[in-house]
Symmetry: C2
Subunit: 204 residues, 2 copies
């Protein structure tokens, strides 16, 4: 959230909340564009138009930025999981909510989720985030299996693979979604829902 | 091509075709794991268990490997486009063939297509490959629009977005597909076809 002008040094001295958000987003954009390993704190300072020491005044390390950015993506997705778990309804209804909620979360936090999806497991921070991503995958597979058992989805397909493909579709949004694009997040959530659950082909 | 000293160390002495394939695949695996920029020819030589000069005997530059790897991915996908163009049938039938053919091509050339999909446009070689990827996206959007005009797909959804999401699903295969995995390429092609065209939800 923007609270006002940054200080004369740029990195929001006296307004850490404002600066922190800017620093984090700039870092994530740099990580997504050039890769985490290839982005130095020096390059990040240049990108922000501040000195390296001004940057280190707010951030102890590049890894701290990575951890914070991944936490943000995982919190958004974790919120969706919480909503899905507290929904009274069938597994198919839960799966629909998961597709919808994930689409909205991806649109709201696109740069952060992009970073999460591109992890290669090169450090403990990355591996820990990947573990939580895999937990998501297991939840999806469980809901697909439940919907199959209820007769709401074909039972002759592997639930884990269906789950991966469904969320492969949803996750691919981060490659091209722009907040100022033609379709709103709500319109995209309606579309991913249709595509996931057969609503795209007219029923005869 | 740069001609280095004859290799004493076994980069395909007497089997240049065989060696080339090994070098290319090792390079692509390294690019996918650590990123193209972060992979040096020295690191690649270590990975292959050869000296750097032996590697340069076969390959003039890292960029040559990148170009060759991307050509391989683009040829596989271009072959699918050719098949689709020569198919006598409706746009919906062409779209089905495109989903099926792309799934099979991705499974057959997974490491190469992974590299293509992860491009960031950091060089002329990358940008040229990305142009051809975008052409693919335009062909998909055209087929979706045609299928909509024929009443085979709902007409109230944006064809370009539907195309991106469809192929976002198909492309996501490269993140987890393994040739020795539980599902064969053919089974996966049947599954992506079902998922793309509403076959997953039983019709009542």
């Amino acid at each position: 959230m923007r609270r006002g002008r940054a200080s004369e040094t740029g990195v929001g001295r006296g307004r850490p909340g404002y600066a922190r958000e800017d620093v984090l987003l700039a870092a994530v954009d740099a990580f997504n564009a050039a890769g985490y390993e290839a982005t130095s704190m020096g390059a990040l300072a240049v990108r922000l138009g501040v000195t390296k020491s001004a940057l280190y005044h707010h951030v102890s390390s590049k890894e701290e930025l990575l951890r914070e950015a991944l936490d943000r993506a995982l919190s958004a997705l974790g919120g969706v999981i919480d909503d899905v778990r507290s929904l009274e309804g069938s597994d198919m209804e839960r799966l629909r909510l998961l597709v919808r909620g994930t689409t909205l979360a991806l649109c709201a936090e696109a740069p952060y989720v992009t970073l999460l999806l591109r992890l290669r497991g090169n450090s403990e921070v990355e591996r820990s985030a990947m573990d939580r991503r895999r937990e998501y995958t297991r939840i999806v597979a469980g809901l697909v299996a439940g919907a199959q058992a209820d007769g709401d989805l074909r039972a002759d397909v592997d639930p884990a693979t269906v789950g991966r493909l469904l969320f492969g579709m949803v996750n691919s949004l981060v490659e091209w979604y722009r907040p100022d694009g033609e379709l709103s997040a709500e319109e995209l959530a309606a579309l991913t829902g249709k595509m996931a659950f057969g609503g795209l082909v007219p029923r005869s």
